[in-house]
């Protein structure tokens, strides 16, 4: 794969990522299903990691996390950098050893990413004295509601970019 093709691919990924962040900020945050809004930021790191080489995926996850931490509030400092990087690492492992890259792999990795994100928030909230039942309920609902949005909004775009920028 030439450098030019890599640059084109990641330009497309960047554009798609910015679009998803815009959607998250202006559209998804206004939608409420089952009492929660879909939050799909960490799923971008997961899906990219199932499609791209590990090094590229790790850099993407770090940059995505940094941008998200800059733009959006988080329960702890560097929340998105931490979660996106761990999610990318785990997704690479899943895609290499457990599930063949594709929609099923994206589903598994997004589910894991959302659970991890919710788990970190849950730990912070429990530390602040929130009731366990409320924390578990919110975490599960957020994961279940966000998963379809991630698969519908992110996976087709990222998979298409990967396909059109892969040499035959």
């Amino acid at each position: 794969m030439t450098r030019r093709l890599i640059a084109i691919r990641w330009s497309f990924f960047t554009a798609a990522t910015l679009l998803v962040l815009f959607f998250q900020s202006q559209l998804l945050s206004r939608i409420t299903i089952w009492g929660v809004s879909p939050v799909i930021i960490v799923c971008m790191a997961a899906i990219a990691a199932t499609l791209e080489p590990p090094r590229h995926a790790a850099v993407f996850a770090l940059l995505l996390g940094a941008v998200a931490d800059t733009l959006f509030p988080a329960p702890v400092a560097c929340f998105y950098v931490l979660v996106c990087t761990v999610v990318a690492g785990l997704s690479v492992l899943v895609a290499r050893h457990l599930v063949v890259p594709g929609i099923r792999c994206a589903l598994v990795c997004c589910f894991g990413a959302l659970l991890l994100g919710s788990a970190v928030c849950a730990v912070v909230m429990l530390h602040r004295g929130a009731p366990l039942s409320a924390v578990l309920s919110l975490g599960l609902r957020e994961t279940i509601v966000s998963l379809p949005f991630a698969l519908v909004l992110i996976y087709p775009a990222f998979a298409h970019i990967h396909t059109i920028t892969t040499p035959r």
């Binding site: 998250q24 929660v36 809004s37 959006f72 988080a74 329960p75 928030c121 039942s133 409320a134 919110l138």
Partner: protein, 279 residues
């Protein structure tokens, strides 16, 4: 036969002519319908009816197509007219809403002349379900600073500025779990602390803790900011008491307060940049 006609033909023609003349004279003289005309009419009647029916059907079809074309034209015109009216209605609705907000803002400024207010628009809602925050389009450039409080156009407390950039700022709403506001029950004067709780946030409620006499509360009691400490102005409406509960430990009692504002529905807010701390 030929011989018959050549021999009696003239006679026969004369007889027929005589009969026809007589019948014509009778028809002219008589007042009713003659038998022959009546008979001819009876025979022709079904054919006339059929012809009339076909002609009528053709005329109906033609009229139908004429009507459809006319109605389609009329319908298109009406649709355009309705679209124009809807557009005007939308513009009027927007103008009315803005007008109402500005009227309320003017009322707010008149009600609290000591407040220095900065109007701000909500540009982003909370991008998480774990906390409740809003992003505004006003920042340090407009004098907005961390710690200033934010209200809606009716003077209801929205939250406190927790992050301020050059042209943006972030409000942690009173529903957030990080939020703790000095509060007073308006009717009883009981002083307490209004705190956000994760399990109440979804319902737009917060907890009123450290109450000295929770039994004195009644449903609907208004809770306002106490103003103690001078961090926030006093008298801003927080919400109304919904019920009194016992916490998980079974020792402390707290009141569930339904917040007056719904952060997710806010469009415009006011930052109180300065106020008379003595009030």
């Amino acid at each position: 036969m030929k011989r018959f006609f050549s021999k009696h033909g003239l006679l026969l023609l004369a007889a027929i002519t005589t009969v026809m003349v007589i019948m014509c004279i009778i028809a002219a003289v008589s007042s009713g319908t003659p038998f022959l005309r009546n008979a001819a009419g009876m025979i022709a009647s079904p054919f006339r009816a059929a012809g009339s029916a076909v002609a009528g059907w053709a005329a109906d079809v033609e009229a139908h197509f004429d009507d459809v074309e006319m109605l389609q034209g009329e319908n298109d015109e009406l649709r355009r007219y309705v679209a124009e009216l809807e557009e005007q209605l939308r513009q009027a609705q927007t103008a009315m809403e803005e007008n109402e907000r500005l009227r309320e803002a003017l009322g707010l400024k008149n009600e609290y002349p000591d407040y220095e207010l900065t109007e701000a628009a909500v540009t982003e809602r909370s991008v998480s379900n774990w906390y409740s925050e809003l992003t505004l389009n006003r920042g340090t450039k407009q004098g907005v600073e961390i710690g200033q409080c934010v209200t809606d156009e009716y003077g209801n407390l929205v939250g406190v500025i927790t992050d301020a950039g050059y042209n943006w700022s972030r409000v942690t709403t009173l529903l957030d779990t990080d939020s703790a506001i000095g509060a007073t029950v308006f009717r009883t004067g009981d002083v307490a602390v209004a705190e956000g709780r994760l399990d109440l946030m979804e319902d737009g409620c917060l907890a009123l803790n450290y109450l000295t006499d929770p039994d004195s509360l009644i449903v609907g009691d208004q809770v306002v900011t106490s103003g103690l400490g001078g961090y926030l102005p006093g008298g801003l409406v927080i919400g109304a008491v919904r019920e009194v509960r016992i916490d998980d430990g079974g020792v402390n009692r707290y009141a569930v307060v339904k917040a007056k504002v719904t952060p997710k529905e806010l469009v415009q807010v006011f930052v109180i940049r300065d106020f008379d701390g003595e009030q």
